[in-house]
Symmetry: C2
Subunit: 313 residues, 2 copies
């Protein structure tokens, strides 16, 4: 599990930061990539990364501002052109379906795969499969804006096959009962405890990716105890007034949230072009004074989300 | 007058060629820039050029395929963000207005200027002002596709003020009559011929920019005697069958057209990513064997369109 930043700018593309797109790489977990927002030029950024468009099977849109959605029709077309033929689900605010359908319709684009639209209206669980659950909650932007929380399910401990073999326990249906943690009597009379042959369970990881927002109470529940929180940082510490007026956040507000929510790592994105080059370091430094494990990310940064070795279930 | 190529690729963006956009720079002529097609990422290409979005006051769309229009909503937004406040006219096939309005509507984009939509249905003159006339004619692509012909009006000869002064002809309302070519009697009795004091008239330039098309009869009238013909070249000489099936042209077909139409220069664009790097030279070489003054253009090429010194009116 890694997070790859394909567009870390704010509002309009700059020379160094494209408009918003964050990729959650789940290649080891389920051979897929999930995108959060698709600003214009996302498909060009993907060309410069090693992501394969056909592996993208979920797209989560945080809100409908142009810098977060105008790359969607082009990406969907290219995914088809490049051999994508598995269904793709788009989650987002009401209106996203109309935008995509009119764009593809006017341009007479025929896709080689099916799009499933999930226009979200109610906060809560929006997706669940055996490996992940995704939650949405609303934020506070001028238009409807969502934050997403991706929870990986805990990994149950693995059956310790080598240890079973060393104890001369013959393989067979009995392994299933041992894996289930049962106490089992063997043919030779021995009674063994399944739990002794199961490795440590591993706590699933949590990633919270929030859309544009000003300070609001829902962010806390989205971010609570997350391994990684991806948060906008359109303004700097001294610009809380501007942030409020424009429905955005400062780096300090994001850092305070990270601290309160007890996250492990804070990644700041949606950086204004007013903070070019070394100026972005100032944003990072100010935020680190509040929450140490903070980074201002750049386009094409890939951040690993490791298991927390100390957190077993 | 120059032509700047902002996207010379075909279908999907490649690492070296973005999707379609051609800019006609009319900065000396009328302090404006006209765009022909706006593929996704055009605003990012403009960032890397020295064009100013606010100077773009006309956009001509050749056809509605995604690689020719998906950059339009983002460019329109950025033009507003960057201080554009003068009206902008969009010419194109029926459907372009719906695409732009839904995109801007869904994203709640408020522009600081007015868009005038000219959905074209009838070939012929589509625009005229004191300096330029623009014509449209239909081509042969799978969907409606247009070619545009921009005719600069002839420049009348300039009044030779230095020569008038040397001949001791006093300035005054009489200069207007001289400029009009009249024969005038001066107060000192001399009769002078206005035509002797007017410089050479200069023939206006003609640029033809055609959308995606296969071989068709209308291209000839669009290109006739043009100073520059910009033509697609999706396939190579040996792929006429493919070109026909996919409603595109080969380099050879474009060159034959250039020759028949007696154009001065042929610029080949819409180059498939199958022709990377030096492979594009092959396209150029094949075309030059038919029409010598041919170039395969690349992203960011700027081609001057000079006055033809031999062609006075
Ligand atoms: Zn934004
Ligand atoms: Zn095309």
């Amino acid at each position: 599990m890694q997070i790859e930043f394909l567009g870390t700018g704010s509002g309009v593309p700059g020379k160094f930061r494209n408009v918003s797109c964050t990729a959650l790489r789940l290649l080891d977990e389920c051979n897929s990539v999930w995108l959060f927002d698709v600003g214009e030029g996302t498909q060009q950024q993907i060309l410069r990364s090693n992501l394969k468009p056909r592996k993208i099977n979920k797209i989560f849109i945080t809100h409908l501002h142009g810098d977060h959605i105008f790359g969607l029709p082009g990406l969907l077309s290219s995914r088809s052109f490049q051999g994508g033929n598995t269904p793709l689900t788009i989650y987002g605010p009401k209106g996203i379906k109309d935008f995509v359908q009119v764009s593809l319709g006017v341009s007479k684009t025929k896709l080689s795969y099916k799009i499933i639209y999930q226009e979200l209206t109610t906060p809560g669980k929006i997706f669940e499969d055996p490996k992940f659950t995704v939650y949405m909650n609303t934020l506070d932007h001028q238009i409807e804006s969502f934050g997403y929380r991706v929870e990986e399910h805990d990994h149950p401990g693995e059956l310790m096959v080598d240890k079973l073999k060393a104890a001369k326990i013959p393989s067979g249906p009995i392994y299933g009962r041992i894996k289930a943690g049962e106490s089992v009597q063997l043919d030779d009379g021995r009674v063994i405890n399944g739990a002794d042959f199961i490795g440590k369970a591993q706590k699933g990881r949590v990633v919270a990716i929030l859309g544009d927002t000003r300070k609001n109470p829902n962010s806390l529940s989205l971010a609570k105890n997350a391994d990684v929180l991806v948060h906008e940082s359109t303004f700097s510490k001294d610009e809380a007034g501007l942030a409020r007026n424009y429905y955005h956040s400062t780096n300090a507000q994001a850092a305070i949230l990270a601290k309160k929510a007890n996250v492990h790592k804070l990644l700041l994105t949606h950086i204004s072009s007013r903070y070019t080059g070394k100026m972005a370091n100032v944003l990072q430094k100010q935020a680190r004074a509040i929450f140490k494990n903070t980074s201002v990310v750049r386009d094409f940064d890939v951040v690993d989300v490791p298991f927390d070795k100390n957190q077993t279930v």
